[in-house]
């Protein structure tokens, strides 16, 4: 199978090269057959990538340990379900996965490209083919997943234990897929620029493909946070790690793009800005590939340093030069149709939100690259950690959430004082009221209270938008539900966006709760002992272990009780005096108001081959808070060492995911059948209507 994989990669390389060169020569010399042939070659690269991927997957299924990649990332003990994960568990396989995804979305986007882009398509195809050529080349000559071992081992090393988690079936593919999918809008816009299509012809394709990549990347990041929360055993979900950041940065820029592209669609403005945003997003995606493939910035997620880092650095720099040279060349022709009339308008609010997104991106980029700069300047690599990102980005992110409430309430072009008063009255009132109520209830942390107020403001603004539109349709005779449905259906991009905004508010609630109000305690328990934190008592009631060839696993059985703190007033007072947020009880007798609410099973495994521990935290999750039990270690004296935290509103982090996906789908759903109907309308045909396949 290795031979087949290598042949497929070499064939893909040749097809990509032919497609790139054929497209350009065919277009320049007016050779229609060559342009069509080059496009077909691009389609065939998908088959080549699929065959190479199939060969590697088959090698995993067959336990073909003569292939180094298979021997490094699987063994006979590996659950067959994890073959899919093992496929992209290492550097070479993940590159092949990226190539497969790129070739599929490339073929689909070229196949479904609108006819009006026919003049720029050869250039778009050439750009896509060159990018595929790069990946085929790297896989064929530098990082082949089909490298053979001189001596075939009896068994493989096994899959990285941290990857044996349900989230791994979707998190890495979505993240890598989202990053590489940014190539599509970039290629379409660049193709249009080269061909001299300065207008808005590319806008629909760019918008749709941008939203797809943005939605996929966003979902991938959220799944990654969930994976980190449940398996990494540090109690958090986002660490501002360089690899997390390099996924976040293009996502932020794409978020800015999908907002400002609305202004271009509606008002014919920001054309130049939108092209620049797509260029930045694409280059940042390449930066992510570079850092992930052995770049100089250390990350727990990145693959080992290798010559690949240099190759990806060169490709990133080439992308940067190409994108911005093209931009500067075509800039004079990309002027907006009209100027902004007022700074109190929806387009101005989009511009402000764009600057805020780019600010967060710039701050994050500086944090990611700082170790490099410090190394160059002082010969010491100084990395920045979470507090830098939290302090620098926190206020700007809050500003973005505020703009989520302000933007939709402002009309296009300009607004009057009367309308501002009318539209902002309720959201402002509810926001202020929320703050007053929280202060009156004695809730601590002013910044968090302010953030809750902002969330209430935005939620009311969205509700008001829906209320106004629904009421207008209700007045016209629809029942309330139908009126709301028709409102959403009438402008899916806008209302899909509001659903995404709701998901961001839910995410915001989770971030505020877990960042500002988390309680933590540590302890070591013997069997029969309990640990008390806030109004929970966690009793260690049993344990188990399992020794397998690849791991030594241990787990604890724990009963979780909700307690009445009055029953424990003496112990709580002592703990408070000592400045502790929790305490252990040797005697676990059930007190009068103790209520058994859950059984949890925190799990701890050690993998000698990887010299790596992996945990599954015991989590009892509710809409209000998570009780989160991390099994740090099973001690030699029979005790279990635990870290326990209460994570308020953590549930909302994960609940936001379905809303994010739903909103993205609504925004993406084809807006109307007008286009389809219009194709059949009777506009008299021109004499040379038949243009062949082009």
């Amino acid at each position: 199978m290795a031979d087949l994989g290598v042949m497929a990669l070499l064939l893909g390389l040749a097809l990509s090269a032919y497609s790139a060169v054929g497209s350009i020569i065919g277009e320049k010399r007016g050779m229609a057959e060559l342009v069509v042939s080059a496009r077909r070659a691009l389609y065939m690269t998908t088959l080549a990538a699929a065959v190479a991927s199939g060969a590697l997957i088959n090698a995993f299924v067959q336990n073909d340990f003569s292939i180094k990649y298979v021997a490094d990332h699987s063994n006979t003990l590996m659950d067959r379900a994890f073959v899919w994960v093992a496929f992209y568990a290492g550097n070479e396989g993940s590159l092949l996965y990226i190539l497969l995804t790129l070739s599929i979305i490339t073929a689909l986007s070229v196949w479904f490209a609108p006819k009006r882009l026919a003049r720029s398509m050869p250039w778009t195809i050439a750009i896509l083919a060159v990018i595929q050529l790069f990946y085929f080349g790297v896989l064929a000559f530098v990082a082949s997943p089909f490298e053979l071992l001189g001596t075939v081992p009896g068994d493989g090393r096994g899959i990285n234990p941290l990857l044996t988690h349900p989230g791994m079936f979707s998190h890495p593919p979505l993240l890598m897929g989202g990053l590489i999918a940014i190539t599509i809008p970039f290629a379409f816009v660049s193709g249009a620029m080269i061909a001299g299509n300065y207008g808005d012809d590319w806008i629909d394709v760019a918008r749709v493909s941008a939203i797809i990549s943005w939605g996929v990347l966003g979902t991938g990041m959220l799944l990654g946070a969930w994976w980190a929360y449940t398996i990494l055993g540090w109690g958090g979900y986002w660490a501002w790690d360089p690899i997390e950041n390099v996924a976040l940065m293009p996502w932020l820029v794409m978020t800015a793009f999908i907002h400002s592209v609305m202004v271009q669609k509606r008002r014919g403005m920001f054309r130049m800005w939108n092209v620049a945003l797509l260029n930045i997003a694409f280059v940042l995606a390449q930066l992510g590939m570079f850092i992930n493939r052995g770049g100089p910035v250390v990350s727990v997620h990145s693959f080992a340093a290798s010559t690949l880092g240099v190759i990806f650095l060169i490709f990133m720099l080439a992308s940067l030069v190409f994108a911005f040279a093209l931009f500067l060349w075509r800039m004079p022709e990309m002027k907006s149709d009209r100027a902004m009339e007022s700074f109190i308008s929806r387009e101005a609010s989009f511009l402000i939100n764009n600057f805020l997104f780019l600010s967060v991106m710039a701050v994050t980029l500086w944090g990611v690259l700082f170790p490099l700069f410090s190394d160059l300047a002082r010969d010491v690599s100084v990395s920045v950690s979470a507090p830098y990102f939290d302090r620098a980005n926190g206020p700007v992110l809050l500003g973005i959430v505020i703009m989520m409430g302000i933007g939709p309430l402002l009309p296009w072009r300009k607004s009057s004082a009367r309308s501002l008063k009318q539209w902002f009255m309720w959201p402002t009132l509810v926001g202020v009221l929320t703050i007053v109520v929280l202060v009156a209830l004695g809730v601590q942390r002013p910044v968090a209270i302010l953030a809750f107020g902002v969330v209430a403001f935005v939620a009311t603004a969205i509700s008001e938008e829906w209320w106004r539109g629904t009421a207008a349709r209700h007045q016209a005779g629809d029942n309330w539900l139908l009126a709301w449905w028709r409102l959403v259906n009438g402008n899916r991009p806008r209302h899909g966006g509001y659903i995404v905004h709701i998901s961001i508010l839910m995410l915001g609630l989770g971030i505020i709760g877990t960042n500002f109000y988390q309680q933590r305690t540590d302890g070591a328990l013997s069997l029969g002992e309990s640990l008390v934190i806030d109004n929970y008592r966690i009793e260690y009631v049993g344990n188990g272990d399992e020794s397998r060839r690849d791991r030594i696993a241990q787990w604890a059985e724990m009963s979780v009780y909700r307690i009445d703190t009055n029953d424990y007033s003496t112990e709580i007072a002592v703990a408070r005096d000592e400045g502790l947020s929790g305490f252990t009880l040797e005697n676990s007798e059930v007190r009068p108001n103790d209520e058994l609410i859950a059984q949890i099973q925190p799990w701890h495994g050690f993998y000698p081959d990887f010299n790596m521990a992996s945990v599954r935290s015991g989590i009892r999750s509710t809409i209000v808070e998570d009780l989160y039990v991390i099994p740090r270690d099973f001690l030699a004296d029979g005790r279990i060492s635990l870290a326990v935290s209460i994570n308020p509103l953590a549930w909302w982090l994960w609940a936001s995911g379905p809303f994010f996906i739903l909103g993205t789908m609504v925004a993406l759903w084809p807006q109307s059948s007008v286009e389809r109907r219009s194709k059949h309308q009777k506009v008299p045909a021109a004499p040379d209507d038949n243009e062949g396949e082009l």
Partner: protein
């Protein structure tokens, strides 16, 4: 076996990319006229969409009546002009107006807008 499969894949690829040169179908590069017509159709659809959007904005109270009428008139004039260009001299003014009204009505029906001049919430 893998080598046979690889060779087969290569042969299929060559056949697929060589077909445009040797097949019976003839190809031509797209003409300026074709592109112009496609662009014009796309622009017309964009204008219909904009009309639908401002109808929704007006209904929801996002646009004042004066702004709404002004924008709508401008868009209708643009759409009519594009329709005129698309249909050449073969259709009359009234036929174009009828076509335009039909498209706008379809859009309105689709988003179930109240009749023109509907009472915005203020």
């Amino acid at each position: 076996m893998p080598v046979v499969l690889g060779t087969l894949l290569a042969l299929i690829s060559v056949a697929v990319i060589a077909y445009p040169f040797f097949g019976s179908k003839r190809y031509r590069m797209v003409s300026e006229r074709f592109i112009t017509r496609e662009l014009s159709r796309a622009e017309r659809l964009r204008i219909y969409r904009k009309i639908s959007d401002i109808d929704a904005d007006f209904t929801s109270g996002d646009l004042t009546e004066a702004d709404y009428q002004q924008q709508r008139d401008m868009l209708r004039v643009s759409a009519a002009e594009i329709l005129r260009q698309e249909s050449g001299a073969s259709s009359s003014n009234s036929a174009r107006d009828e076509e335009l009204e039909k498209e706008i009505s379809r859009l309105r029906e689709q988003s179930a807008q109240p009749p023109e001049g509907g009472d915005p919430l203020r």
